[in-house]
């Protein structure tokens, strides 16, 4: 008791009240040239891969150098990125939605030394315009509670193979790729998406369900009403109508005893044609093109091979400015499957609600 002064006791009894400031103002962290010309930018150019040049009405310029990193940053790497920012970019940086770091410099002469330094330190300059951008991804085995696969590892393995496409601008238009380690698809929409696709219903640990799960919420969570309450071995549990079950895994987060992940039967699937932009056509969702791909750490070579095949076909066949969805709109799905040598199966035909709108109700057929 001797070391517990009265102040200390009081401190413990009265925890600190949070200051609810919410989202901080980014303006204070903006490069001064950007602050000065806020809302006054006139045009931009793309002098070379990884570099953007923006020119303001005032005539002032800001040069941006974009670099890919491992995304899961350790403090050593973060400080290294800061050192580079201090040396070349007046101490200001930003991050893109795809977790690339960007350095902004006023002086064009600083661009090449900055690129040299970044590359010397192992970062990859690129990811602008018509490149394969950094794959945006989720947490995976490193941190998620419901992952069917890893995320950072899949991305590292794929970017190793796609690095030239990140560093160069040889694609018809930009390619945004995403990965998701479950069917909730936190990774979002992408020109190419690599997502987990479970193929077997959950295995239920009936001993745990009643202790761990709020059964009505689990029943309500199922998109196809395949789950109902049941007594199993004298204990309240849940049962799954396996004929109805679509193996989506939606029951797993609220009820971990309904184990959906399976080392063998949780597969990878590849989707294409998701496009967030309104340019040329309205935003589109991605479409399934390949499934049943083994979940094969540490390098997932089967998934990477298919992604490369799709990219190759797109690169060779698409016209300038066509995103993957634009390209397929022009050439049609039969040709897509032909060019990529992927099988077209009954699983490609949508039977979800509203799915009939995805069928061809015309005589539009390319012979």
């Amino acid at each position: 008791m001797t070391d517990k002064t009265p102040e200390k006791v009081e401190e413990k009894a009265k925890p600190r009240t949070p200051i609810e400031t919410g989202c901080p103002d980014g303006f204070q962290y903006m490069h001064p040239t950007m602050r000065k010309n806020f809302g006054q930018w006139k045009y931009h150019e793309h002098p070379k891969p990884g570099v953007l040049k923006h020119v303001a009405n005032s005539g002032e310029e800001i040069w941006t150098v974009r670099a890919g990193t491992q995304r899961i940053l350790d403090v050593f790497t973060l400080r290294k990125l800061c050192d580079i920012g201090d040396k070349y970019a007046d101490g200001y940086v930003r991050f893109t939605i795809r977790s690339n770091i960007e350095y902004m410099v006023k002086d064009a002469n600083k661009v090449d030394p900055l690129i040299k330094e970044l590359e010397k330190e192992g970062f990859i300059v690129g990811g602008t315009k018509n490149s394969v951008a950094m794959i945006s991804h989720t947490q995976g085995w490193l941190h998620c509670d419901i992952p069917g696969t890893d995320a950072s590892g899949v991305v590292k393995a794929m970017m190793d193979e796609l690095i030239d496409e990140f560093k160069n601008n040889e694609m018809p238009n930009r390619v945004h790729m995403t990965t998701s380690c479950c069917q909730i698809n936190c990774g979002g929409q992408g020109d190419i998406a690599i997502n987990i696709q479970h193929t077997k219903p959950p295995k239920i640990n009936h001993d745990l369900v009643s202790n761990v799960c709020e059964r009505p919420s689990v029943v309500a969570r199922c998109p196809v009403a395949a789950i109902r309450p049941a007594m199993v071995n004298g204990k309240p549990s849940l049962e799954v109508d396996e004929k109805k079950c679509i193996c989506c895994g939606a029951c797993y987060p609220p009820c971990p005893p309904m184990q959906i992940n399976d080392p063998e039967h949780s597969k990878l699937a590849i989707w294409v044609g998701g496009n967030h932009s309104n340019a040329r056509s309205k935003p589109t969702f991605q479409k399934l093109v390949a499934a049943g791909i083994p979940n094969n750490p540490p390098r997932w070579p089967e998934a990477t091979a298919i992604v490369k095949r799709i990219l190759q076909a797109y690169k060779e066949d698409a016209r300038d400015w066509e995103r993957i969805n634009d390209w397929i709109d022009r050439i049609g799905w039969p040709r897509f499957f032909e060019l990529t040598e992927l099988p077209f199966t009954k699983y490609h035909i949508d039977n979800w609600r509203g799915g009939r709108k995805t069928l061809n109700s015309s005589t539009y057929i390319r012979f």
Binding site: E20, H44, I72, V75, D145, T149, D160
Partner: protein
């Protein structure tokens, strides 16, 4: 410390892309704090175990800082006995500055706080837009939060609440910017700090703000409320610059890549290589501006389009946002207040009417857009639909009254 063998992870240290495994190993081998060495060693051990067995071993739970109910993703290891130093490995979701701008001094300050309390691993940013500080014990979450909260950072959302928002690089650098994206971002999300920190909504609610219809924040696909900059008047054309570009690329390129790509055939190439734009039929898709950013620019009458209801798969399937405000100015104080009011009305109505775990878009799907619009006090507008109803199964009793409303509105617009 006995280092775990990690043959599968070691394979991810080869190859040209920067390796996150090498980064974690640096923390294990070189960091002066033994706590971090042990924690990252056991993290690698558990991750290797996942790679070998192809299964995840984290489970959730309840962890929070004093006064808040969300913002932390609790992770307890199911194999904590084998990997005790990382058996509690929670993530703190922290809201980044709008537009993801940082000074290196602020990043260093965050790094200092983080290595004092946490694992030393951080991501800029997670898919919702948070800074993800990955790996803290239950006790350390409070200390780390207290530290960074004192210099201006706050937790984001987790659970059924308003989530961290996102905005693009915006007016800070981009000539396509039509609004003050960062102001919209902060006004919206900071109006709902209580709904963010104390999860009590039907499910998550996300705001995303993009400065132009290129929608770099993927807001139509991913945000419950999407605010996208646009303009009403003519595209500004610098004909001299355009002709220069035409000369450089050739006529064929201009025709194939600009003229014929316009979704409403609103551009025509003149004989002298200047262009004529049918601005009344331009839908602001951005394509031509993207191709020739030096010659084509958004007009001066700028504002935003607001869409509601975008989300990903769970539960009924992916949904895009739907236009509920075709255009609104975002200049004067009352414009901004109106934007916040739309968000408040939307969240209030959704909170009152949604089922548990039902996203706003799913509620709209269930009750119909018209009932939602009624609920938030917004009139119907033909810009809200791709086409009018195709099904004849509808009661139209009050057709005449509704038609009168439409004409009255049109008259009001004319006299205004």
């Amino acid at each position: 410390m006995k280092k775990h063998d990690t043959p599968m992870l070691d394979d991810l240290e080869t190859g040209p892309w920067p390796s996150f495994i090498s980064g974690i190993k640096t923390l294990r081998d070189k960091h002066p704090d033994k706590r971090i060495n042990d924690m990252t060693n056991d993290l690698l051990g558990q991750l290797e175990h996942s790679y070998e067995t192809r299964k995840g071993y984290w489970k959730g739970g309840t962890v929070s800082v004093y006064g808040y109910g969300g913002g932390i993703i609790p992770r307890f290891s199911e194999v904590g006995q084998a990997f005790p130093a990382s058996k509690e490995f929670h993530t703190l979701r922290v809201q980044p500055p709008a537009g993801n701008y940082y000074s290196t001094s602020m990043l260093r300050r965050l790094a200092d706080s983080w290595e004092k309390h946490g694992s030393g691993l951080v991501t800029f940013h997670g898919q919702t837009g948070n800074i993800m500080f990955i790996g803290a014990t239950t006790e350390a979450t409070q200390h780390f939060f207290d530290d960074i909260n004192n210099y201006g950072f706050d937790l984001g959302g987790a659970g059924p609440c308003v989530r961290t928002a996102m905005s693009c690089v915006g007016a800070g650098r981009c000539e396509m910017s039509n609004i003050n994206e960062h102001k919209a971002h902060r006004l919206l999300v900071n109006n709902f700090v209580d709904d963010m920190h104390r999860p009590a909504l039907p499910y998550k609610f996300k705001f995303k703000v993009s400065g132009c219809p290129n929608d770099c924040m993927n807001s139509i696909e991913r945000a419950d409320m999407s605010v996208i900059g646009t303009w009403k008047d003519d595209i500004k054309v610098d004909q001299k610059e355009f002709k220069k570009y035409a000369k450089l690329k050739g006529r064929k390129y201009i025709i194939d890549n600009i003229i014929t790509r316009c979704p409403t055939n609103a551009i025509s190439l003149n004989d002298d290589d200047s262009i004529e734009i049918d601005n009344k039929n331009c839908v602001k898709c951005m394509h031509c501006l993207n191709v020739v950013p030096k010659a084509l620019h958004p007009g001066d009458d700028r504002g935003a389009t607001v869409l509601i209801g975008g989300k990903r798969t769970l539960k009924i399937g992916d949904l895009m946002g739907t236009v509920i405000v075709p255009f609104m100015k975002l200049e004067k104080d009352e414009d901004w207040e109106k934007l916040v009011e739309i968000a408040e009305n939307t969240i209030d109505f959704w909170a009152d009417n949604a089922l548990e775990h039902e996203r706003c878009g799913e509620m709209i799907e269930r009750i119909g857009l018209v009932n939602f619009l009624d609920g938030i006090g917004i009139d119907v507008d033909p810009n809200m639909v791709a086409n009018p109803r195709e099904s004849s199964y509808v009661r139209t009793d009050d057709w005449d009254q509704e038609a009168v409303k439409w004409y009255e509105k049109a008259d009001k617009k004319e006299t205004a």
